[in-house]
């Protein structure tokens, strides 16, 4: 599995530490923020694949706002919300705004790892599609150049051939000078 850079946003230090331990063990790179403000700073400066954020946090920036900031910065960042059972409605609302998923507390790690696996698979698919496109574009432009040069050369040769044919079949001109003119066209 590809390793992801994951930003964990939660005001509860116990949850932060727990997530850090479990995710690091899975070889992910983990960044921590204890509130929306810290999260915003990190999102602005660091490339991130996934954000795991608590929905309800003290201050003006809650999970929904973290989601909006992230999507504004880069549509590709996937956001998973962590919610108390009572706020499922808000979480569903967040899905409409582009959240990848939501998980209810208490966290079920098997479920979390499954979601991350899916995201990581999708990211690697996207990357190989992008690589293929790059490769195709390069192939298309180099092949194009070669073919277009050949096309022009073939066109010029055809023109010469037509002219030679016209000269050689012109029986108002004496044979020897037809041949010299034809040779002249060929070696011009």
């Amino acid at each position: 599995m590809n390793t992801l850079t994951i930003l964990v946003v939660d005001d509860d230090p116990v949850i932060r530490r727990l997530l850090e331990q479990r995710l690091t063990k899975e070889n992910h790179t983990v960044l921590l923020a204890e509130d929306g403000y810290k999260a915003e700073k990190i999102i602005e400066t660091t490339p991130i694949d996934v954000i795991l954020t608590d929905l309800m946090m003290p201050g003006e920036i809650g999970g929904i706002e973290v989601l909006e900031i992230a999507k504004n910065k880069n549509q590709q960042i996937e956001v998973i919300l962590i919610t108390a059972h009572s706020s499922v409605d808000t979480a569903v609302e967040a899905m409409k705004k582009g959240a990848a998923d939501y998980l209810e507390k208490p966290l079920n790690f098997t479920e979390l790892f499954l979601r991350l696996q899916k995201i990581s698979n999708m990211l690697s698919l996207l990357r190989s599609a992008e690589d293929l496109r790059q490769a195709m574009d390069v192939t298309e432009s180099t092949a194009g150049e070669t073919i277009q040069n050949l096309e022009i050369t073939a066109g010029e040769l055809q023109e010469k051939l037509d002219a030679v044919e016209a000269i050689l079949s012109n029986d108002t001109i004496e044979a020897y000078s037809r041949i010299t003119s034809a040779l002249n066209i060929i070696y011009k």
Binding site: G144, I147, L150
Partner: protein
């Protein structure tokens, strides 16, 4: 997944060729299985033979349409290969405008352009944007007819709608052009009405006669003939020659060639781009 037998492969590829001109050689069984298999299953067909028979019996041609949508490759991007659009801007359009300008300044200059395998519309919209950038502010002196056609219904539909997701947008469109000619629409982008209103899209099979289209000043026929047999390519470019004004311009794909295919056209070079004109 539904497997295709050697016999079915022959029948189905013959059928695809008959309805679209697309030629699939015997190595394409995987392509047929992955692209047509799901349709067979959805329609309750236990085999590709059954799918073929059902499609042929279907008088609404709905199945035929779905098979064409599934088998055609709609791969395209905005300003693909770039050089044809530079050519348009710096050579073809200025030349044509000179040639077509009417004697009376009260009359408009008429120019007809055809994107003959327009797929999801990126090619024709790139042409329209090029025209707008070149003739900004003086477009009312012109009457541009921009037509896009394709055999795939779903491609024509998306082209007409003019909406593209971020992956389609990220390919080929400079940020500046995006902001100038598109508006954000949910998580997609929609082409602005001023560009949309310059173009028309409709369904057309290049293997059939081109009736009622008239003559064009510029024809784009890029990256579609590659799916046809040599014989079908010859027929196609002969028909295109008949649909092109005598002093008109033909643009083909950057990796395509007309050598040995259509002697009616001569290749010409302008800077790094190639275009074709009819031999006089």
């Amino acid at each position: 997944m539904l497997k295709i037998t050697a016999d079915e492969l022959k029948t189905i590829s013959q059928y695809i060729h008959d309805i679209s001109g697309i030629y699939l050689d015997q190595s394409k069984s995987y392509l047929l299985e992955t692209r047509l298999g799901p349709i067979a299953e959805e329609l309750g067909c236990a085999s590709f033979r059954a799918l073929h028979d059902k499609a042929k019996r279907d008088s609404t041609k709905n199945i035929e349409r779905r098979l064409i949508d599934a088998i055609s490759t709609n791969e395209t991007l905005f300003f693909r290969d770039n050089s044809p659009f530079e050519l348009l801007k710096h050579k073809i359009l200025p030349e044509l405008i000179d040639l077509r300008s009417p004697a009376s300044p009260r009359m408009k200059t008429h120019i007809k352009i055809w994107s003959s395998a327009s797929s999801t519309g990126q090619e024709l919209y790139s042409i329209a944007m090029t025209i707008r950038e070149l003739l900004d502010g003086q477009l009312d002196r012109f009457n541009f007819k921009l037509l896009g056609t394709d055999i795939s219904d779903s491609a024509v539909k998306q082209a007409s709608y003019g909406k593209y997701n971020k992956f389609e947008i990220e390919r080929g469109l400079p940020r500046q052009t995006l902001q100038k000619h598109f508006t954000l629409f949910g998580d997609s982008w929609k082409i602005k009405d001023e560009i949309r209103s310059m173009v028309n899209f409709r369904k057309l099979n290049l293997m059939l006669p081109f009736t009622g289209l008239g003559k064009f000043d510029i024809i784009f026929c890029r990256n579609v003939a590659i799916y046809f047999t040599l014989q079908d390519r010859k027929k196609l470019f002969n028909k295109l020659a008949a649909s092109l004004a005598d002093d008109g311009y033909l643009i083909i794909g950057s990796t395509e060639s007309l050598t040995g295919i259509c002697p009616l056209f001569v290749p010409k070079r302008h800077l790094r781009a190639i275009f074709y004109q009819k031999k006089n």
